[in-house]
Symmetry: C2
Subunit: 292 residues, 2 copies
Amino acid sequence: MRMDPHLLRTYVAVARLASFSAAARELGYTQSAVSQHIAALEQDLGTPLLGRRPVAPTRAGERLLEHAGPLLLRLDAARAEVTALAGAPDEGLTLAATPTALTPRTLRALPPTGVTLRVLPRADVPEAVATGAAHLGLVDGLAAPNDPLRLADVAPLTTRGAGQEPVRVLLPAGHPLARRTGLRLGDLADARWLDAPGAGLPLHQLRAAHGTGGFRPALRYEGTDVRTLIGLAAAGHGLVLLPESAAAAPGTGTVAVPLTEPRVVHRTEVVHTGELRGAAAAFAVRLDITRS
Amino acid sequence: MRMDPHLLRTYVAVARLASFSAAARELGYTQSAVSQHIAALEQDLGTPLLGRRPVAPTRAGERLLEHAGPLLLRLDAARAEVTALAGAPDEGLTLAATPTALTPRTLRALPPTGVTLRVLPRADVPEAVATGAAHLGLVDGLAAPNDPLRLADVAPLTTRGAGQEPVRVLLPAGHPLARRTGLRLGDLADARWLDAPGAGLPLHQLRAAHGTGGFRPALRYEGTDVRTLIGLAAAGHGLVLLPESAAAAPGTGTVAVPLTEPRVVHRTEVVHTGELRGAAAAFAVRLDITRS
DNA sequence: ACCCTCCATAAGTGATGCTGATGCCCGTCG
DNA sequence: CGACGGGCATCAGCATCACTTATGGAGGGT
């Protein structure tokens, strides 16, 4: 009758699988129960949420979907945070990070033992921290110097800067612009770009930094491996923006040219919930000490 | 057993009122039910949330409180958005706005009839829009030119710029700096300031714009009336930052000096959910046409 | 010392949320 | 064209749950 998390969870499962019975199997209910869940939701909200045959969200249902995900995520985050406070401080340190956030400097600050490193696409890092899957997150992105990064706030997360470095454009060795000593982003708006939301810097950040459109993706890479990304750039599949430390790759057939315009830096930030305890706190301190 | 919205709602009520029985009265339950709700939550999360006698949140409880508010808010937002889509488009237009966002230009764009104007403190505007209490919101704040405002995202809200204007410092007529033709924020960090989160620009935005601390509040004004605020400034209770259009107030015993440094503007933005329909859409279009 | 307030607990009851069975609709295939 | 089958809706039955009322116990104030 009221918008129970249970009902929402069933709803997203049904919407995702486009099937009542499949959702029932996944959730360990009977098909009947799922049907009643959806009926309860629809009656509560006073509007149909799913078209049957085929099972697909209505317009109202799509709206609900936009809310349901973050809602359930935040619910998990709340539970994780509260229960973490109850239990003893965890041994070890689980760190969620984007691949390019793992600069030599951050890696050096890691404690020698007890570390679990979890490399994730950029968008999944805050989520991992919020739900307690990681004690600490490292995210990176493009920003004006000394400006904070803009993160989607799934939950109240604390962030602090963990370093900045120049940005470089990665070009295949034979590229006409490869001899330049500096490049301006505006001159590259019409070039072929790699869209690598998991590994490189996502194109929408380029558009935001440059202020307008352009930057059409030639190839989309969904992995998190920077070496592969560099390989793609070397093979001429498109340009990528990388932090200096990741772009310096002799022998890969690429050239990394500094970006001169606009004045943006590759910024990496530590993100965590509440207060830090144990190994996570120690790591944060060591990062702070070596801050560039 | 599971983190039911009901349980969260009673939890926040108990925490706010610091009393089980008072919360029970407010929610229309018996005291016993409230007690069971809290017990269920505490058992589910495996940790005490409230100290009794006096009733006050534990550390874990405080964490939960941080999540519970936004969570419940977003639940309401989801319900509002879905049910709004179900019913017929509303007649009229309800507009939630901060007082200083209501510049002459925005007021001129209002349709001649059917408007309900709801002036709220800055922080409440996105909430009003998200929960459907208003069709449209107008928020303002300090930003670098052409930078978007940073709003707390209680729900996926769409924003678009609705105008910018210069910022002025309001000084009492006899103030030593009143003769200046321009002022720098850095020179005023140690002055007495009015903290007016509802009416003027909140001090924390000043600190953010200036990059450091300072800007200690001399008096805090919690209303939403700009005339009163100007009166306070005239009486020497402190300085305020206001958009040009609000600061031009001859005969009030104040002088409005342009702010030259840092380069920030008073920016106002329209905020709304999903797509606009009816009068709200028309208003947004008219705002766009007259965009400065 | 007593009482009064306030929270916890126990027992009872109506409502709820599940399961299993069955019905109905529609697409598919013989 | 009719029979079959997959998939969602509906129904009845039952176990559990979420309330209520009633009572107990702990503190603080007079």
